[in-house]
């Protein structure tokens, strides 16, 4: 395996990634395998392979069109499953409470995760702090199905994210723009989500991220091939991935939306903006009637393109969560600005 530098951009304003060498052959090899398999007629290794890129990214494919709900207890997990959640996200406190109570927030207690895994048959995800690879190791050992390296928890490393290639468990990471998404994919993320301001019930940031990622992909796809090198430099992302996005016109992994989704209409809007599915955090269990609202968000995610259905689905849901406008939150307290 050849290790070679692919991204040396010390002239960037933020000084991001200075002379760090990426083991880019690994990414290239995985991408190659994903795309060329149907042409590959040769005898492949017949032994069973776990933790491959295909089963990690494939797992996210199976979640598409679904809703992943934050839960803090086994009872909430059961309510979420019953309402039609495609997976649950186990965490200690929902983002709205983290925001209200402050302090350092960390990965959840293993006992709590065990009890949630035992209570539902759908996949269970859990959050690790940005850069905290040992929390991720623990979550993998607990049998969690997906790890969210999340800005909602307090970051453990202000420079490096987790090297996600080292894990069998797949990772989902947040991104506010295409460059950030591709940097996370380069580190091994098998799924990307937007990074709307968690715990606010204000969907405006998630909208911004979805639009930004979509339009940056469209721009790349329209560029002549010889301009992709500079595009990669500007996006602060590896050239191989930039080239792939330019030729396919989409991210190489599933793109969900997250942050501030509180109503069925919010979920449907994100789907119409090109999300493959929806994470709902505080929006469910901080509302007046969690079970009913959860079921409504599930239906709205499936029938996102049908306004008559959406009108029906949105009726009689009781109180939505009390929101906070992102604009009212002082910038240092905005979670979406964590991660780099």
């Amino acid at each position: 395996m050849i290790v070679h530098p692919v991204l040396v951009c010390d002239d960037t304003p933020k000084g991001f990634v200075t002379r760090r060498t990426y083991d880019d052959s690994r990414t290239a090899e995985l991408i190659e395998r994903k795309h060329q398999v149907s042409e590959n007629e040769g005898v492949r290794n017949p032994a069973a392979t776990t933790g491959s890129d295909r089963v990690k990214r494939g797992m996210a494919d199976m979640l598409k069109g679904g809703v992943i709900m934050d839960v803090v207890t086994a009872e909430q997990a059961k309510i979420a499953e019953d309402a039609g959640a495609v997976a649950v996200m186990a965490l200690e406190r929902v983002p709205a409470d983290i925001r209200a109570q402050g302090g350092v927030s960390r990965a959840s207690d293993p006992d709590m995760i065990d009890s949630i895994i035992a209570s539902v048959s759908i996949p269970v995800m859990a959050k690790a702090r940005i850069g905290h690879f040992v929390e991720a190791q623990i979550l993998q050992s607990l049998g969690v199905d997906y790890v969210d390296e999340s800005e909602v928890l307090s970051p453990a490393d202000y420079e490096h994210h987790i090297d996600k290639w080292n894990f069998k468990v797949p990772f989902v990471c947040g991104a506010t723009n295409l460059g950030e998404a591709l940097r996370r994919i380069n580190e091994g993320a098998a799924m990307i989500r937007s990074k709307g301001e968690a715990g606010t019930g204000d969907v405006s940031n998630a909208t911004g991220h979805m639009r930004k990622i979509r339009s940056e992909i469209a721009k790349l796809a329209a560029l002549p091939e010889d301009e992709l090198y500079v595009a990669a430099k500007e996006l602060q992302a590896p050239y191989q991935l930039v080239k792939e996005v330019a030729s396919t016109g989409k991210l190489p992994v599933v793109l969900f939306t997250a942050g501030g989704i509180a109503t069925p209409a919010d979920a449907a809007m994100m789907m119409q903006l090109g999300a493959d599915g929806v994470f709902v955090g505080s929006g469910i269990f901080k509302s007046g009637n969690p079970a009913q609202r959860a079921a409504a968000v599930v239906k709205a995610t499936t029938f996102y393109n049908d306004p008559d259905q959406l009108a029906k689905i949105s009726r009689g849901l009781g109180e939505a969560m009390v929101g906070i406008n992102v604009a009212d939150i002082p910038a240092p307290h905005r979670l979406s600005e964590r991660g780099w």
Binding site: V37, V43, R44, T50, V55, G58, K64, E81, S121, T302
Partner: protein
Amino acid sequence: MRGTYPTRALRESDWPLVLRIGVLGLQGDVREHLEALESLGVAALPVKSPDELSGLDGLVLPGGESTVIDKLSRLYGLAAVLKAKIADGFPVYGSCAGMILLADTIADPTMNLRGEPQQSFGGIDMVVKRNAFGRQVDSFEVDLEIKGLDGLAGSTPGGAQPPVRAAFIRAPWVQSVGDTVEVLASIPAENTPKGVDGTRTARIVAVRSGKLLATSFHPEVAGERRIHELFIHMIRGDA
């Protein structure tokens, strides 16, 4: 092998001439199945309502969460219509969650808060166990010999097929089958998890029963087209 398939995009005016195959589009990897079908030269249509089931020559049940697809399909009246069609011989292929939905019996259905078990459309006389190979960290891919693929695109000149690269993602297996069910593929004992008694058993992962086809694995995420091709031949009645 891709070169052997028609590459021109289908137009609506082509539809009377080609097969129309739906993909249940409530949740899951719907797009991958639509792409697989389109690459084989049939009209592929997402299906979300009972009305959209009419006029189809066959249906694919995608991978996804069987509990979610079960709930939504009953809620919007698709389940009843589909059950009746399956009983009438309507061709259906199910991958992963789709296999669970085609099973007459689910070994370990999840219970809702009122204590009612999850349901399936049924049609194949088999007992399926959900997430049988384990959690996501146990998900795997493997080369698999599958019966019934000879003569399809991708065959070598001798007629033999290279193995199928099969991705198993929190996959189910078939615990037992009735007399009417043909077993197309199994995972050998050394690649299956140990049972409670500490021994390993070969597990059935692909079956066919009349016009119904089911696989534990996902050909659609591996760029594999032969399973869909087999399904198209089953619809046409020449396989």
